[in-house]
C-alpha cells in the first residue's frame, strides 16, 4: 500500500497473507468463510499444486509472530473458468473464528457500486518508500465509474465490465505489488462488504491511473457453486 496508514491491529480480520510453502508473503487474500479464501488468479500462476501455498490469518505484522496467527495448508485451488483474475482457495481445515479472524461479507449478485463510494484497501505490499513497511496498511479512496475510468486520460478503455476502478485522480495512494488478491471493501451500514479483489494497475499511485479490481458481485454465483459443491 502506497501512503495510507498503518491500520489498527486486527481491524481488518478477514485479511489473509498468501505465502509460499516456506512462509514468504507474496499476495493478499480475503477470508469469506472459515474454510474459504478469495484471492486473485494471477497469484497462483507460479504453481497449480495446493501444497505450494500456505495461508496465514490473524496477523498484523508481516513477520507473523503474534500468538493470534493461524496457519493453514491449502487443500484445493479453484481458478475462475473464464480467465477473470479471481480464484478461491479451500483450506485444509477451517480457520478458528476469533477477534482477529473474522470473514468479510460478500455483496449481493450484481450489486451496483456507484461512482464516489468511499472504499478501503489493505495489504502488506510494496509501500514505495512510504512509512509502514512490514505492517498491515490501509488506505481509502473513491470508486471511479468505469465510464470515467475508460476515458483517454485515465485507463483509456482497458477496464472491462467485470472490473472496477478505485483511486484518487491526483494519485498519491494506491495498492501495489504484493497487495494483489487482497480485498477492496466498502462500508455498508455498519459492516464491510468486499466489492473488489486487487488485480492490476499501471504503476502504483500514479496520477490519472487508478487501481483496477475484479468486481466480486459479478462472481457470486460462481463462488456459491464452488463452495457448495466442494
Amino acid at each position: 500500500i502506497v501512503a495510507g496508514c498503518i491500520s489498527h491491529p486486527h481491524s481488518w480480520p478477514w485479511q489473509i497473507s498468501l505465502r509460499t510453502s516456506y512462509g514468504l508473503h507474496f499476495c493478499g487474500g480475503t477470508l469469506i468463510d472459515p474454510q474459504w479464501v478469495l484471492t486473485a488468479s494471477h497469484c497462483l500462476e507460479k504453481s497449480s499444486r495446493p501444497s505450494s501455498y500456505k495461508v496465514y490469518l490473524g496477523l498484523h505484522e508481516e513477520r507473523a509472530l503474534e500468538t493470534s496467527v493461524q496457519k493453514r495448508d491449502v487443500e484445493k485451488l479453484f481458478k475462475e473458468p473464464h480467465r477473470a483474475d479471481i480464484a478461491l482457495l479451500k483450506l485444509r481445515s477451517p480457520a478458528i473464528i476469533t477477534d482477529q479472524v473474522i470473514p468479510v461479507c460478500l455483496p449481493k449478485e450484481n450489486a451496483v457500486l456507484g461512482g464516489r463510494e468511499e472504499c478501503y484497501v489493505t495489504g502488506w505490499g510494496d509501500t514505495k518508500g512510504t512509512p509502514g513497511e512490514g505492517y498491515l496498511k490501509e488506505t481509502g479512496f473513491p470508486v471511479i465509474e468505469n465510464k470515467i475510468c475508460n476515458r483517454p486520460e485515465f485507463l483509456n478503455g482497458r477496464v472491462k465490465k467485470h472490473e472496477l476502478c478505485a483511486g484518487n485522480i491526483h494519485g498519491g495512494t494506491d495498492t501495489c505489488q504484493g497487495d494483489s488478491g487482497g480485498p477492496l471493501v466498502c462500508l455498508d451500514q455498519d459492516r464491510f462488504v468486499q466489492h473488489g479483489v486487487t488485480s492490476w494497475g499501471l504503476g502504483c499511485a500514479q496520477p490519472m491511473k487508478p487501481g483496477v479490481y475484479v468486481r466480486v458481485s459479478n462472481y457470486i454465483p460462481w463462488i456459491k457453486s464452488i463452495m457448495e459443491n466442494n
Binding site: 480480520p13 476469533t98 451496483v112 461512482g115 464516489r116 490501509e138 485522480i169 500514479q206
Partner: protein, 566 residues
C-alpha cells in the same frame, strides 16, 4: 427593473377555480399585477383580469394546483416563479410542488407537528411560503430545498430539484428549454435519443447496461426518465443506450447563446471561494508558476479545458473549477502537483493566504468520564494524539452518520468528545484528513486504569477439544477409543502394529500425543488411531462435530482507522 408583467406568464381565454381570491377593479393588467404583488391575505400566485368589466381577481392558486376552464373575456396571469418546477441557485425562492425527498420519502406537512416537531412553520416564517408539504428552503441551506419527512427515523432530507440556471423563459413557452450552455452540465431538457438515433436507457434501469449513475450516487443531477444528461463533466450530454452493443453515446443538444460571466468586476478579485474568478494571476502562494491547463506536463490531470468550457481554464491562470476553498492551479514544479493561489479579495480584506495549519495546542482538560463515557457531557475536544476534533454536524474532512438525527440522546454538540455508539471511551472524528477518528484525551474518573475491552463470551482463542471442525485435522481432544470401542495404540509404540510413517517424530505438528485419536493425514472421514487389537490395524474414532461458529461477517472487533488520502 423591467415591466411588472415580465414576471408573469399570460394565458388568454382561461379561468381557474380557486377558493382563495380577492376582487378589485383596476383599469388594466399592470394595476392588477400591483394588487397581486401587494396582496396580504394570501400568497398571490397570479390574477385574472377581464377586459370588458375591468375586474381584477388576485388568486391564491394557479394552473398547477387547480382546475382550469375556458372563459372568452378573461386573461390569466400566473407568476412564473410558481410555475417553475426547478430551482435557481440554492432554491431559496423555489415555489414548486415537489413533495418528496430525493430518496422518495413523502414530506411532512409544514403545519403538522408529527412525526417531527418542526422549527420552521408557516406561522413563524410566512415569507417562506411553507405550503402543504412542498419542498422549500426557508433557512437558505446551501444544499437546496428540503422538507421534514414522514419517516420517523429521518427528521429532514433534501429534495431533488433540478437547476433552472441558464434557461431562457419565453412567455407561453415550455419552461424546460431545449438548448444547453457550455458542456450541458445544467441541461434539463427531455431529448432522449443519442446522436446516432439510438433510444436512451432509463437512468433508473440497469438493463441492458449496468451502471453506477443512480439517483443515490448522483443526487441533484436530474437523472430523470431517459433524458440526456451530463452528470460527470463529459463534453456534452449523453445517455446509456438501449442497444446492447452500445453502452453509451453523446446526444445532439443545440447550444444556447452564451451568457457573459456571472461576475463583472468580481472576476478580477474573489468573493466567496472564487469559483467565478477570471483574473490572470498565474502564480501560486508559494511562488510556483502555474502549469497551462491544456498541458499534461509535468502533471497529468483531468481538468481539460474543452471538457469544461464554462470553467474558463485559460492559459495557466488560477481557477477554482471544483469548489475548492480558493483558486488554485497545477504547478510547473514537478514536486508540487497543485497549490492554492493568492488572489485579492473583492471586499478589500487581506487576501486569504493559505498558511499551513499550525496544530493548535491541545487543551489540557482535567475532566474525566464515568464507565465507558457514554454519559460524558464535558467540552474536551482533542484526541489522545493532540488532534483537534471535527464538529459532529460537519461532514468534512470525514463523512459519517453519527449525527444528532441518528443519535438524538448522545448530545453531539460542537466538536466535543462523545461516545454515541457505546465504544470503550469517548472519541471523535478528527480534523486530520488522514486520520478518521481517535479516542479523546480524557481519563476515566476512578483512576487511570486502562480499560481492556471485554472479550465477547463466544470467542475463545483455543479450539474446543471436545468436537471437531470439518475433518478434524486440528482435533486435540483426549478420546482414545475407536468408533467400534477398541482402545487406541500409543502413537509412539510399534506394537501390536508396527508403523513408521505417523509418529510424533515424523509429524511433530499433528499432536500425536499418547494414544489419542488424531488426523495427521487429513483423512476426510476424521480422526483415527492404530488399535491395540492385533487383528485390526487402525479404525476411525467417533468425535462429534462442533456447531457452526457464530460470527457477523464484515464486522471487526477493533474499529478500523479508515484513513483516506485526498
Amino acid at each position: 427593473k423591467g415591466d411588472i408583467l415580465d414576471d408573469y406568464l399570460r394565458t388568454d381565454g382561461v379561468w381557474i377555480l380557486t377558493r382563495n381570491k380577492e376582487f378589485y377593479s383596476t383599469n388594466n393588467e399592470k394595476e392588477c399585477a400591483e394588487k397581486c404583488d401587494a396582496e396580504i391575505n394570501f400568497n398571490c400566485r397570479g390574477f385574472l383580469f377581464t377586459k370588458k368589466k375591468l375586474q381584477c381577481l388576485t388568486l391564491a392558486e394557479n394552473t398547477k394546483t387547480t382546475v382550469v376552464f375556458h372563459s372568452e373575456d378573461a386573461v390569466l396571469y400566473e407568476k412564473k416563479i410558481y410555475l417553475l418546477q426547478c430551482k435557481r441557485g440554492i432554491g431559496k425562492d423555489y415555489r414548486g410542488t415537489e413533495a418528496k425527498t430525493w430518496r422518495g420519502i413523502p414530506c411532512q406537512k409544514w403545519a403538522e407537528k408529527s412525526p417531527h416537531n418542526p422549527n420552521f412553520t408557516p406561522e413563524k416564517h410566512p415569507r417562506a411560503e411553507l405550503e402543504e408539504n412542498y419542498c422549500r428552503n426557508p433557512d437558505g441551506d446551501v444544499r437546496g430545498p428540503w422538507c421534514y419527512t414522514t419517516d420517523p427515523a429521518t427528521r429532514f432530507d433534501y429534495c431533488n430539484i433540478p437547476e433552472c440556471e441558464g434557461q431562457v423563459m419565453q412567455t407561453g413557452e415550455d419552461p424546460t428549454v431545449e438548448c444547453m450552455e457550455c458542456n450541458g452540465e445544467d441541461y434539463h431538457g427531455n431529448v432522449s435519443r443519442t446522436e446516432s438515433g439510438l433510444e436512451c436507457q432509463r437512468w433508473d434501469a440497469q438493463e441492458p447496461h449496468m451502471h453506477g449513475y443512480t439517483l443515490k450516487h448522483f443526487p441533484g443531477k436530474d437523472l430523470k426518465m431517459n433524458y440526456c444528461r451530463n452528470p460527470d463533466g463529459e463534453l456534452r450530454p449523453w445517455c446509456f443506450t438501449m442497444s446492447p452493443t452500445k453502452r453509451w453515446e453523446y446526444c445532439n443538444i443545440p447550444r444556447c447563446t452564451m451568457h457573459p460571466p456571472a461576475s463583472g468586476l468580481g472576476s478580477q478579485c474573489i468573493s466567496g471561494n472564487g469559483d467565478d474568478y477570471r483574473g490572470r494571476i498565474a502564480i501560486t502562494a508559494s511562488g510556483n508558476t502555474c502549469q497551462h491547463w491544456n498541458l499534461q506536463f509535468p502533471h497529468k490531470h483531468g481538468w481539460i479545458p474543452d471538457r469544461y468550457p464554462c470553467k474558463n481554464l485559460e492559459e495557466n491562470y488560477c481557477r477554482n473549477p471544483d469548489g475548492e476553498k480558493m483558486p488554485w492551479c497545477y504547478t510547473t514544479n514537478a514536486t508540487a502537483r497543485w497549490e492554492y493561489c493568492t488572489i485579492p479579495s473583492c471586499d478589500g480584506k487581506e487576501p486569504d493566504t493559505p498558511a499551513v495549519d499550525q496544530p493548535e495546542q491541545a487543551q489540557a482538560t482535567e475532566e474525566c468520564y464515568q464507565g465507558n463515557g457514554v454519559s460524558y457531557r464535558g467540552t474536551a475536544s482533542f484526541t489522545i494524539t493532540g488532534k483537534k476534533c471535527q464538529a459532529w454536524n460537519s461532514m468534512s474532512p470525514h463523512r459519517h452518520n453519527k449525527t444528532s438525527e441518528h443519535f438524538p440522546n448522545a448530545d453531539l454538540r460542537q466538536n466535543y468528545c462523545r461516545n454515541p455508539d457505546a465504544d470503550s471511551r469517548p472519541w471523535c472524528y478528527t480534523t486530520d484528513p488522514s486520520v478518521r477518528w481517535e479516542y479523546c484525551n480524557l481519563k476515566r474518573c476512578n483512576g487511570n486504569v486502562q480499560m481492556t475491552l471485554p472479550k465477547p463470551p463466544q470467542t475463545t482463542l483455543e479450539p474446543n477439544p471436545d468436537c471437531i471442525h470439518s475433518n478434524g485435522i486440528d482435533y486435540r481432544g483426549t478420546v482414545a477409543r475407536t468408533a467400534r470401542g477398541r482402545t487406541c495404540q500409543e502413537w509412539s509404540s510399534q506394537t501390536p502394529h508396527k508403523h513408521d510413517y505417523f509418529t510424533p517424530r515424523t509429524h511433530p505438528k499433528s499432536g500425536l500425543e499418547k494414544n489419542y485419536c488424531r488426523n495427521p493425514d487429513g483423512d476426510v472421514n476424521g480422526p483415527w488411531c492404530y488399535t491395540t487389537d492385533p487383528r485390526k490395524a487402525w479404525e476411525y474414532c467417533d468425535i462429534p462435530k462442533c456447531p457452526p461458529t457464530q460470527y457477523e461477517c464484515g464486522k471487526a472487533k477493533t474499529r478500523p482507522k479508515l484513513c483516506a488520502q485526498r
